[in-house]
């Protein structure tokens, strides 16, 4: 008896191991799947999905089998007799009205239950995150910690994260397929969503409500990490930027210095850069860049703690610690940063950040940047500075 139980336990364990392996393998092929949920909200949804899938498949198979049967059984052959003119059958018709009603009741009850469960108020101990949508990037604020960041969200595993969703301009929708269902960001309203991440990984997030030119380029990343790691991240984000304005860092600083997480393939953006856009200078000087930043028009829109307080574009205080830029569509390295600074509207359709490189044509304003624009060397210096802002 006991041994039977034990063996069954082992079997269950083995099966779980196998299935989690399969899920891991699936993750590689379909990294944004809604079918492999990693939060209680995701699993609640998945339960309903599986139920509707099973019932729907049964109905589908029965209807299509009946159709195929009818097609073959009642095809007209030579000498087929005139069919009897049947006009209906009340019993039959009542039956096939009632059966779907019963099936739907089986879907409706758990649906309503899940609606109320998942839309209840989040636990008061939850991590509070404010999500603010912008055309076309994401601002994330952690009011409990006084941290503001962009396009990259850190969440501790095992702690409920409660999101307050707002938008600065048009409608957006906050969607991390592997973690939760989506919730829209509605102008002049605040929406709420909560879930508890269950495993650590890096997930892709998307804007799921059409929001204009670069709707397709409004992504973000979610890093679900161990609580200790999360605390460390919060600490680093709260501290002033690591860059002291001292030594000259190499432009390719991304690969050196602090350890950035190694990203799985799906989290590395593959967006091609526009043909014909290039920066001649290979390396920049971070100190010169820091100096330039303070004097440039960057400060009108961007914040760097202790340096500037612009709030139109993403907060750049720790931009060097992020893995991606521009709504997670380009990797955060010197090459992409330089191209971005030189001509953002060419890098991202409709970009609100103007082209800054001297002589660049800004497709958004339809004007060419005059002599006051940045030289390639200045651009390289700025990029070096930004990458040094860990």
């Amino acid at each position: 008896m006991t041994s039977f139980h034990r063996s069954r336990q082992r079997l269950t364990l083995a099966l779980t191991a196998v299935s989690s392996l399969v899920i891991a393998a699936c993750d590689k092929i379909t990294p944004n799947s809604t079918l492999t949920p990693h939060s209680e909200f995701g699993r609640a949804i998945d339960g309903l999905w599986r139920e509707t899938l099973v019932l729907g498949t049964i109905v589908f198979v029965l209807v299509e089998l009946a159709l195929i049967f009818v097609i073959f059984r009642f095809r007209r052959r030579d000498g087929s007799a005139q069919p009897k003119h049947v006009h209906g059958n009340t019993t039959l018709e009542i039956t096939w009205t009632l059966i779907p009603a019963v099936i739907l009741a089986f879907i409706a009850v758990p649906t309503v239950r899940t609606i109320f469960e998942t839309q209840a108020k989040a636990k008061s101990s939850a991590l509070q995150v404010e999500v603010i949508g912008h055309q076309w990037w994401w601002e994330f604020r952690y009011p409990q910690y006084g941290v503001v960041t962009a396009n990259e969200l850190y969440l501790p595993v095992g702690r409920t994260a409660s999101f307050a969703l707002k938008t600065q301009d048009v409608l957006h929708s906050f969607w991390i397929p592997e973690l939760a269902g989506k919730r829209d960001l509605i102008t002049n309203r605040t929406n709420y969503l909560w879930f508890t991440p269950e495993s650590s990984y890096v997930w892709n997030g998307f804007c799921a409500e059409y929001c204009g030119d670069s709707h397709g380029y409004m992504h973000f990343r979610v890093f679900t990490v161990a609580p200790a790691q999360f605390d460390a991240w919060i600490a680093s984000q709260k501290s002033p930027p690591a860059f002291g304005g001292g030594g000259a860092g190499p432009a390719g600083g991304a690969e050196t210095a602090t350890a950035r997480p190694t990203l799985p393939l799906h989290a590395v953006p593959s967006t091609p850069t526009p043909a014909g856009l290039a920066v001649a200078t290979a390396s920049g000087d971070a100190a010169r860049g820091a100096d330039l930043y303070k004097r440039s028009m960057c400060i009108a829109c961007h914040a760097v703690q202790g340096v500037s307080a612009g709030n139109i574009g993403p907060n750049l205080t720790h931009v060097g610690s992020r893995t991606t830029i521009a709504g997670s569509i380009y990797p955060n390295d010197a090459h992409h940063l330089m191209l971005w600074i030189k001509n953002a509207p060419l890098m991202k359709p409709g970009s609100i950040m103007p082209a800054l490189g001297a002589g660049q044509f800004d497709r958004k304003t339809g004007m060419t940047v005059a002599a006051g624009g940045l030289t390639d060397q200045q651009i390289a210096d700025l990029a070096a500075y930004l990458l040094a802002l860990k």
């Binding site: 649906t111 929708s173 091609p272």
Partner: protein, 663 residues
């Protein structure tokens, strides 16, 4: 088993009223207007299809760069708007126009000139919206045009102006036609045609018109608010002034969901005509089919917020709309089962029309089942705005509406033109379309479940979406290839198809008692209707003996039609003189007063478009003034006044001209 009528001795000459360009521009004949709708809508079907092909080519692989994001956004907006307002609705309108008067035994619609006006307004609205392509300013806010993106603050160009003005114009057309058909069906049914004896397509048309006249005013209001915001500085949707963007969403979907049924019910009606004919059996459960149409239409007004489950309406609203959405599945399911019941025990003949009709039954089922999946709110939070939804509504709109409309085209083409469409080309069209459509749309279910959002102009590599996108794109091109067979078939068969005769299919309803194409006056003497299947009663009374024939106020009388008796292809009795098809007496000889052709409805619609063009030009002027470039205020206002003058003059003249010549 070829069962067409023996070829007549002479090909039928086109009737006199069908010759020359002028006869088309000035026509008030519902049959010609129906054909205008048919061919215009098929033209837009090709345009919308090309837009879809560009979209699919762009998405074939990751990081597609065939078109820019801006162009892509115009393409998907116009693809949706075109397919809904310029293809499926006018194709349905083609059948309303052509069939409703024939099926109810009338000589024309109640208001023939208003009918012409509807068509010309439809074509000017459609052309108006598409002209925007030539200045690369096509609408780019999505077919749903969510505020505040479509407000001036976020969409300053003329793109959205083209969309909302075009939509306003198209709405005028639908509303005018809607009232026209309601009056026609209520007032102009032949003696003996009780409501429960109406052909099922006419029922579908009837209910659809109610949906139109109740739903279109809502979108008109929504769009008028937006127009006032954009042109006159009101604040219905101005978020900076505190507007609630959900106002637009509620108004839009309160129209938008009934619109879904406006798109599908006519196709259901056509399929309900085709299946009984080729099963040689009456429609199974006719009363239930009628009630389910009415119930679907009624419930269709109570489910709109299921398009908005992600906007955060709260658990109570979510639950209510979830349950109403599930309820609407019941009458829809009943229709599927009753179609199966119609075919069960029948003697099925697989013409192209029948294949498309069966295609609807099989494919719409898939769209219906995925629809139930989104009715479960939490599950929908994963599905909404993902490719899963794209898959769902293409199964409904292509697998449902288009399949049904194709069935209708293959079925009624012989009546409309007097010639048969080629069955060989038709079957090639069906099978390639069937394969192409499933290859295109089925993988989209997986794309959505694997996290691909809708309306994105490109996607990164390594997201797990490459293979399904490859398949979908290949499928789309197969679909396009299948459509070529259809185009060739239409063009060739119109000229040289086999002669159809009155009743090539052995159909039960009275339009098949008329010559093909019917004379301009349709029925020389009004038919007397004694049952739901008058032609079957006449051709095979022994079979229909068990049909419930309520004789409420009826005198048993035969159906008499000018110049020809009933053609009976399948029943082998009573074959008429084929020559009757060639020469039937003119309306004048029979002393039937016919409405005079007139160009005034066309002119009135032209005036409408000119006036609205002035509004667009006004935008251009303001833009120039803002940029301090030379511009004048007067040109746009002059254009608007000119358009208004044309409209008023045409309308005034129209009202003063009697409908029929003095007699």
């Amino acid at each position: 088993m070829a069962t067409t009528v023996a070829p007549p001795r002479h090909a039928p000459a086109p009737p006199k009223y069908e010759r020359g360009v002028w006869s088309w521009l000035a026509t008030v004949d519902h049959k010609k207007i129906g054909q205008l709708y048919l061919y215009s809508a098929l033209g837009f079907f090709l345009i919308g299809g090309i837009e879809a092909l560009i979209i699919r080519a762009q998405l074939y692989g990751p990081d597609g760069r065939l078109v820019s994001a801006e162009t892509y956004n115009m393409l998907f907006t116009m693809h949706g708007t075109t397919m809904i307002f310029m293809v499926v609705m006018p194709l349905s309108a083609a059948f309303f126009n052509y069939l409703v008067p024939l099926q109810v035994g009338a000589r024309d619609v109640a208001f023939p000139r208003l009918n012409a006006f509807s068509y010309w307004v439809f074509i000017s609205g459609s052309l108006f919206m598409n002209v925007s392509w030539f200045i690369h300013a096509a609408p780019n806010g999505g077919w749903f045009g969510y505020a505040p993106l479509t407000t001036r603050a976020y969409s300053p160009g003329v793109n959205i102006d083209f969309w909302l003005i075009g939509l306003q114009i198209l709405g005028v057309s639908s509303l005018a036609a809607g009232f026209n058909f309601i009056v026609t069906i209520v007032n102009m049914r032949a003696p003996g045609m009780h409501l429960m004896r109406m052909p099922i397509f006419t029922w579908a048309a009837f209910i659809t018109q109610f949906l139109i006249v109740l739903a279109f005013p809502i979108i008109t209001v929504a769009v008028t608010f937006l127009m006032l915001d954009r042109f006159f500085g009101t604040n219905f949707y101005t978020v900076a002034a505190g507007a609630d963007p959900l106002l637009w969403q509620h108004l839009f979907w309160l129209f938008g969901h009934p619109e879904v049924y406006i798109l599908i019910l006519p196709a259901f009606g056509l399929v309900s005509e085709v299946l009984p004919t080729f099963s040689r059996k009456p429609l199974f459960g006719y009363p239930v089919m009628v009630y389910s149409i009415i119930l679907i239409a009624f419930l269709g007004f109570g489910v709109w917020a299921h398009h908005m489950f992600a906007v955060g309406m709260g658990p109570i609203a979510d639950s209510i709309f979830s349950i109403t959405t599930m309820l609407i599945a019941i009458p829809t399911g009943v229709k599927i089962f009753n179609w199966l019941g119609t075919m069960w025990g029948g003697s099925l003949r697989f013409t192209t029309a029948m294949l498309f009709a069966i295609g609807l039954v099989g494919l719409f089922t898939i769209g219906g089942i995925s629809g139930i999946m989104h009715s479960s709110v939490p599950a929908d939070l994963q599905q909404t705005d993902s490719y899963f939804i794209v898959a769902h509504f293409h199964y409904v709109l292509f697998g449902g509406s288009m399949m049904g409309l194709f069935a209708g085209i293959y079925y009624y083409f012989p009546k409309i033109t007097g010639r048969m469409l080629s069955e060989e080309l038709g079957k090639a069209h069906f099978w390639i379309t069937f394969v192409g459509m499933n290859l295109t749309f089925f993988p989209m279910h997986f794309l959505g479940l694997h996290g691909m959002p809708r309306r994105i102009s490109s996607y990164n590599a390594n997201q797990g979406w490459d293979l399904d996108n490859h398949i979908a794109t290949i499928g789309a091109f197969i679909l396009a290839f299948g459509t070529l067979f259809f185009v060739v078939n239409m063009i060739r068969s119109r000229r040289s198809g086999a002669i159809a005769g009155n009743d090539p299919w052995g159909a039960p309803s009275i339009e098949w008692s008329l010559p093909s194409p019917p004379p301009d006056y349709n029925y020389a003497t009004l038919p007397q209707i004694t049952s739901r299947y008058p032609l079957w009663d006449r051709k095979a009374p022994h079979l229909t003996a068990e049909v419930p024939h309520s004789a409420r106020g009826d005198k048993q009388s035969t159906i008499r039609v000018a110049g020809s008796a009933v053609a009976t292809a399948e029943y082998g009795t009573d074959l008429q003189d084929d020559l009757a098809v060639v020469s039937f007496p003119s309306a004048h000889e029979l002393g039937i007063p016919m409405p005079t052709p007139t160009i005034k409805p066309l002119l009135a619609s032209l005036g409408l478009s000119v006036a609205f063009s002035g509004l667009i030009y006004r935008e251009k002027e303001l833009e120039l003034i803002a940029k301090m470039q030379p511009a004048t205020h007067h040109v746009s206002i002059a254009i608007m006044l000119l358009g208004g003058a044309i409209f008023v003059t045409a309308l005034y003249n129209w009202l003063l001209t009697p409908l029929e010549p003095e007699h």
